[in-house]
C-alpha cells in the first residue's frame, strides 16, 4: 500500500511536511512500515484544497489534511479499511463525497486532442502512431469521401485557426479549393515566434505524423499535391523528427505518388526560416519561402488565391493541423460539442513566468483563467499575489484579476483587449512593473519590425522611447496621452498584423494599470521596484553602525560619513548599482 502526500509548493505552505513526518512516525510505531510506504509527490494541481493525500491502490483522495489527521487516516483507513469520510473531496456541484479521484471533475479540466500523442508515443516510430489510429483519417478521406465532404466536416466542426487569428479552417480550405490553378500548395506555419510559446515545437517534436497526415488531408481537399513546412532553423530537434517522420511516411507509401492506390499524390518538403517574428504572418512567410525578404504584402489578394509563386496556397498553423485527423475520425459533431458557442474544441497553452507548474496544457475553450492558473498551473510562485497574465505574445495584452473568471475563447480575449495568439501565457506577480513589461514587448516589436511601413517602423520606436522615458523617471502626464494616441494610430494604419497589434501591450497595460502609469510620472515611483532609476537607496540612521563597508564599496563615492558615525548617500551622485545594499551587514541600506 502507498500513501502519497503532495509535496508541491502550495501544500508545503500548508504543513504537508509535518503531515508527512507524522504519517511516517505513526506507521513505523505501529509496525506497518513493511506494508505501507509514505511518498512525497509533485503537485497534484489541486492546491486550493491542499494538502492532498492519496491512498493507493484504491485511489482514495483526501483533501485539506492536517498533521493531526495522520493518526485517523492510519487507524481507520489503513488498519480497518474504512475511509475517513470527513476528509473526502466534496463535489461542489452536487455536494456528494467523491472517494475515487478518477471521478473528480478537476481531472477533467484538461482534455488532450492536439497533444493526444505527445509524451505517449515514440515520435520517431510511425508504427506507434498507426497503432493509435494514425493515418486512418487520411485513408478514410481518400477511399470513402469526396474532397467536398471532407471540407464540409471541417466547416461543421467549427475549428478555427490556432495560430492566433482564429479564421475558420474549413472555410479557408473551401476558398482555396475553389481557386482554379494547375498547382496549389499546402503550407504548415511552424514559425512560432511569441516569447514564451513552445506548443508548436512540442507537437512537432512529440507527434510529427499528425501534422503530416493533416497536411495530406488538406491537400486532398484543396487539390494540392505539394506540401511545405515553414519551420524556424532554431528548432533543430523538431526539424530532425519531422524529417524522420516524412521519410517513414514515404516508405509506407503514405506520402508520395498514388497514395494507397487512389491516384492521389502528395509530398512534403521543409523550408527553413531564420527566426523572424514577422514571418509568422502568412504573406511574409510565403515571401520568405520564395527566397525574398520576409516582408508582408497587402491582402487581398489572399494566399488562398495567389500565394507561393502566385499559386493558391493554404496556410495553417501546426496546432490547427494536429486537430484535423481527430476531427475526421471522431466526427464534426463530437468536436463541436467541446468548447464555447463560437470557439470549438480545445487550445494548447504554454504556461510560463511566475507560475508553479511551467509547462504545456490543453484545455477546452471556455475554461477560465482562474482554472488554468490556479488549478492546472498550481498557482503563483512563492505564494505571491497574482497581478496579470500576458496572452497573445507581443500582439496581445495583459489580463488582470477582473478577467480571471471570464471563459477563455477567441472573442472574449479580444473583448478584454488581448488576443488568443498562438497560446503563450506569461504569468506576472506583484514584483512585475507593468510599464517595464510594456517596454519589454515594444523592444521586441521594434527589433522584429520589417521596416516596410512607417507606422510600425517609426511609430513603435517612438512608443518605445516614451516608455523608456517613463521608466527613467522623466515622463509627464502628457506622455501617457501620447502613448494612447500614437498606439491607436499605429493600430489603424500599419500594413500587417504585426504592426496592427504591436501597441496592444501598451494600450492594455494603460487601460488596466492606469494607477501605475500615473505613479511613474507624478510621484516618480515604481511600486514593484523594477525601474531602477526611480529607486532611492537611503541609509537608515537607526541601524547604521558606521562600519564604512558601504562607503568603501561605492564605485562612485556617493556615500559619506565618519567611522562609527551615521553614513549618508548623496542622491545626485548615486548610480543605483545596489553595491551598498549587498555589503551592509546591518540591514541599514533601504530601497525607497
Amino acid at each position: 500500500m502507498h500513501v502519497l502526500v503532495c509535496g508541491g509548493t502550495g501544500c508545503h505552505a500548508s504543513e504537508s511536511e509535518a503531515l508527512l513526518e507524522n504519517l511516517k512516525t505513526i506507521i513505523t510505531d505501529k509496525g506497518l512500515d513493511n506494508e505501507v510506504q509514505v511518498i512525497a509527490t509533485g503537485c497534484f494541481g489541486f492546491c486550493e484544497k491542499g494538502p492532498i493525500v492519496k491512498i493507493m491502490p484504491d485511489n482514495t483522495f483526501y483533501t485539506q489534511v492536517t498533521p493531526a489527521d495522520a493518526r485517523e487516516i492510519i487507524e481507520e483507513h489503513l488498519v480497518k479499511g474504512r475511509k475517513v469520510n470527513r476528509l473526502l473531496y466534496v463535489d461542489p456541484e452536487n455536494k456528494e463525497q467523491i472517494a475515487d479521484s478518477k471521478h473528480m471533475g478537476f481531472y477533467k479540466k484538461q482534455l488532450r486532442i492536439a497533444l493526444r500523442n505527445c509524451g505517449f508515443i515514440d515520435p520517431e516510430n510511425i508504427d506507434e502512431y498507426i497503432a493509435r489510429d494514425g493515418y486512418e483519417a487520411l485513408a478514410k478521406c481518400l477511399t470513402e469521401m469526396t474532397p467536398q465532404q471532407v471540407t464540409e466536416i471541417m466547416k461543421k466542426s467549427g475549428l478555427r485557426g490556432r495560430g492566433g487569428g482564429g479564421f475558420p479552417t474549413g472555410l479557408k480550405w473551401e476558398i482555396t479549393s475553389k481557386s482554379v490553378s494547375d498547382i496549389k500548395y499546402v503550407v504548415c506555419n511552424a514559425d512560432e515566434g511569441d516569447p514564451g510559446a513552445f506548443m508548436d515545437r512540442s507537437i512537432l517534436e512529440g507527434d510529427p505524423h499528425s501534422v503530416i497526415e493533416a497536411m495530406a488531408i488538406c491537400g486532398y481537399c484543396i487539390g494540392a499535391s505539394n506540401g511545405l513546412v515553414y519551420i524556424r532553423a532554431e528548432y533543430p530537434l523538431a526539424i530532425d523528427r519531422l524529417k524522420t517522420a516524412i521519410a517513414q511516411a514515404r516508405n509506407y507509401g503514405l506520402l508520395g505518388n498514388d497514395i494507397m492506390g487512389t491516384g492521389f499524390s502528395f509530398d512534403i518538403e521543409l523550408r527553413y526560416g531564420a527566426g523572424a517574428f514577422v514571418c509568422g504572418e502568412e504573406t511574409a512567410l510565403i515571401h520568405s519561402m520564395e527566397g525574398l525578404r520576409g516582408e508582408p504584402t497587402v491582402k487581398p489578394p489572399f494566399p488562398s488565391v495567389s500565394g507561393y509563386y502566385g499559386k493558391p496556397t493554404n496556410v495553417n498553423n501546426v496546432e490547427t493541423f494536429a486537430n484535423v485527423p481527430v476531427i475526421i475520425n471522431k466526427g464534426a459533431d463530437w468536436f463541436a460539442s467541446i468548447g464555447t458557442e463560437k470557439s470549438k474544441g480545445t487550445k494548447v497553452f504554454a504556461l510560463a513566468g511566475k507560475i508553479n507548474n511551467v509547462g504545456l496544457i490543453e484545455v477546452p475553450m471556455g475554461t477560465t483563467l482562474r482554472e488554468v492558473i490556479y488549478e492546472i498551473g498550481g498557482g503563483i510562485k512563492d505564494g505571491k499575489k497574482f497581478k496579470a497574465v500576458q496572452t497573445g505574445g507581443p500582439s496581445g495584452g495583459c489580463l488582470t484579476e477582473k478577467h480571471l473568471d471570464s471563459p477563455i475563447d477567441y472573442d472574449n480575449l479580444i473583448a478584454a483587449g488581448s488576443m488568443m495568439g498562438s497560446g503563450g501565457m506569461i504569468v506576472m506577480d506583484e514584483d512585475d512593473c507593468m510599464v517595464s513589461i510594456a517596454k519589454f514587448y515594444l523592444d521586441f516589436t521594434v527589433e522584429e519590425s520589417c521596416g516596410k511601413c512607417a507606422p510600425c517602423r517609426i511609430g513603435n520606436k517612438r512608443l518605445y522611447e516614451i516608455l523608456d522615458k517613463l521608466t527613467q523617471g522623466n515622463g509627464t502626464r502628457e506622455d501617457i496621452d501620447s502613448l494612447r494616441n500614437l498606439g491607436n494610430v499605429i493600430k489603424d494604419t500599419a500594413l500587417c498584423g504585426l504592426g496592427q497589434t504591436s501597441p496592444n501591450p501598451v494600450l492594455s497595460t494603460i487601460e488596466n494599470f492606469w494607477d501605475e502609469y500615473i505613479e511613474h510620472v507624478t510621484e516618480k515611483k515604481c511600486r514593484s521596484g523594477q525601474c531602477k532609476s526611480l529607486l532611492q537607496y537611503v541609509i537608515d540612521a537607526e541601524n547604521c553602525v558606521g562600519c564604512t563597508a558601504c562607503a568603501r564599496n561605492c564605485p562612485v563615492n556617493a556615500i559619506s560619513g565618519e567611522r562609527k558615525g551615521i553614513h549618508v548617500i548623496d542622491q545626485a551622485t548615486c548610480i543605483k548599482c545596489g553595491a551598498c545594499l549587498e555589503k551592509c551587514k546591518f540591514n541599514a541600506v533601504l530601497i525607497k
Binding site: Q37, Y107, P123, E144
Partner: protein, 132 residues
C-alpha cells in the same frame, strides 16, 4: 513493413501493432516487460534526459532487468524535467519528475525491482480523447 495499399491494409497493420503494444501495456504476465518512456523534447534534453535515458538502457541491461526504454515527446511537465514514465506489467503508469542518474538508480532499485514508489511522483491531471 511494406507499403500501405488501402484502408483495409492500414487497419490490418494497426490491429497487428495494437496487439503488440497491448501485449506490452496490459499484460498481467509478470514475465512481460517493464516499459520506460523518457520525455525527449527540447525541454527534456536540455535538462539532461539523454543522459538519463542512456543510464536506464545501460543499467537495466547490467542489472539484467527485461525492459523497453523508449523516447517520447513532451509530457507537458516542463517544470519537472527530465520526466520519465514507468509502467510495470499490469500496473498504471507512474510519472517521475526531476530524474537524474541518482534518482534513476533509485527508481530501478526500489520501484522496478520491488514495486515501492519513490519520492517525486507527478500526478497526471489530464484526459486524452480515448476516454471521451
Amino acid at each position: 513493413m511494406g507499403e500501405v495499399k488501402s484502408l483495409a491494409d492500414l487497419r490490418k497493420i494497426k490491429e497487428d501493432l495494437r496487439a503488440k503494444m497491448s501485449l506490452r501495456e496490459n499484460s498481467n504476465n509478470p514475465e512481460s516487460l517493464v516499459q520506460i518512456k523518457v520525455a525527449m523534447a527540447t525541454c527534456g534534453i536540455a535538462s539532461g534526459a539523454k543522459q538519463v535515458m542512456d543510464f536506464f538502457i545501460e543499467e537495466l541491461e547490467k542489472r539484467n532487468i527485461q525492459a523497453v526504454v523508449t523516447q517520447t515527446g513532451c509530457m507537458g511537465y516542463c517544470f519537472a524535467e527530465p520526466t520519465v514514465e514507468v509502467t510495470l506489467p499490469g500496473k498504471d503508469p507512474v510519472v517521475y519528475g526531476y530524474v537524474d542518474a541518482a534518482k534513476a538508480d533509485n527508481i530501478i532499485e526500489k520501484y522496478i525491482k520491488n514495486g515501492e514508489l519513490v519520492d517525486g511522483i507527478i500526478p497526471v491531471n489530464y484526459e486524452t480523447i480515448e476516454k471521451n
